[in-house]
Symmetry: C2
């Protein structure tokens, strides 16, 4: 019943199937592994159409990761899915402030979401930052406001929240900004998708650096 | 541009949209909140058709959770997405052994996946268990082998690995067993889906118990 495939060959074979089912579709060389990894993590070929990459976003992100950029996520789930060993080898770290006591306290006092406050906390860090937002549109909206007032200048915004309320609009808002961005247009996305995009970037840097 | 929706009303509104877009489709009362929460977590209405519930699986799982059943996941990502506060209030805990040193060591020695060994380690726990598998078909296959030889008798198997190699078959294998199961037929699924199903069960118990 089961095809005998060695553990380390499963991913290779999966990517071959994805390539085959994408038919003749072509992507820019630095974008292709990202699209394929998102499909690999979701089994959802809609992402071949949904994913939008702003001009030069991927090369800049690869360069930032190579020089130790840190990652900020909006959920512990996205943080959990990121390959921290590869990130650490490049000098990076991943942060998620959503569960912090001071964030919860401030959100309560101000009547806003913890996602919003966690973005403000992240923006205060003085290192090059890549934001990977897979859940909360309010995180993305807050991030745009922070950019508008010059409080943060991300190396990349991965905008892939999922859902039905303010999600579509929050992604379009990112695309209206000048920031380098990777966005999953529409309702789909998720913490798993956010982590997959970060990992696809990390593996490209790893391959180029030969470790 | 954005509809002003208070944080705690976003989920309510999302579920209303999902209900509306499901049109006249009806589900058994204990199944409906599970299907809707999976769609809420993925924005993917395919799950209205993909999800399969074996006879009596949900009532038994609710009863088990009420009495403090523990959850076992195959990834830290699924573990991270589960509402641990609600689970703890019922006396339960969540376990994921995939990163354990002894699991890695044994997998290497035996030339099998860490997922497989992590299931064996979980099966040895002497508490009522719900398995939530969102990533590794080998975890699901291993679990079926453990059931075949009477080494474990789960209260519920949530079989929702995602992917292209052995995934579809591993889910059908679960459905051939007598075990209570919730399965996402086909390629789709994921750690986020596994966590969403666990949470939908937990929230049903919480509502019934009135806390």
């Amino acid at each position: 019943m089961f095809e005998i495939v060695k553990p380390n060959e499963i991913e290779k074979k999966s990517f071959e199937i994805i390539t085959s089912e994408l038919g003749g579709r072509t992507f820019a060389p630095e974008i292709e592994p990202i699209v394929k990894r998102v499909i690999h993590t979701s089994a959802d070929f809609d992402y071949a159409d949904n994913l939008v990459f702003t001009e030069g976003a991927v090369p800049r992100a690869l360069e930032a990761l190579k020089h130790g950029a840190h990652i900020v996520t909006d959920t512990t789930m996205a943080m959990s899915g990121i390959n921290k060993r590869t990130l650490a080898a490049l000098g990076g770290e991943v942060h998620c402030f959503i569960g912090d006591e001071d964030v919860a306290q401030q959100a309560k006092e101000r009547g806003v979401t913890r996602s919003m406050v966690s973005m403000e906390k992240a923006a205060a860090m003085e290192v090059p930052l890549i934001f990977a937002i897979g859940n909360a549109p309010t995180a993305l909206i807050s991030l745009c406001e922070l950019m508008d007032r010059g409080a943060v200048s991300p190396e990349l915004v991965i905008g892939v929240p999922v859902g039905f309320v303010n999600v579509v609009e929050s992604k379009e808002l990112v695309l209206e900004h000048e920031v380098p961005a990777i966005v999953a247009r529409g309702r789909k996305g998720g913490s798993n998708v956010a982590a997959a995009i970060v990992n696809a970037l990390l593996y490209q840097v790893r391959q180029r650096e030969g470790f």
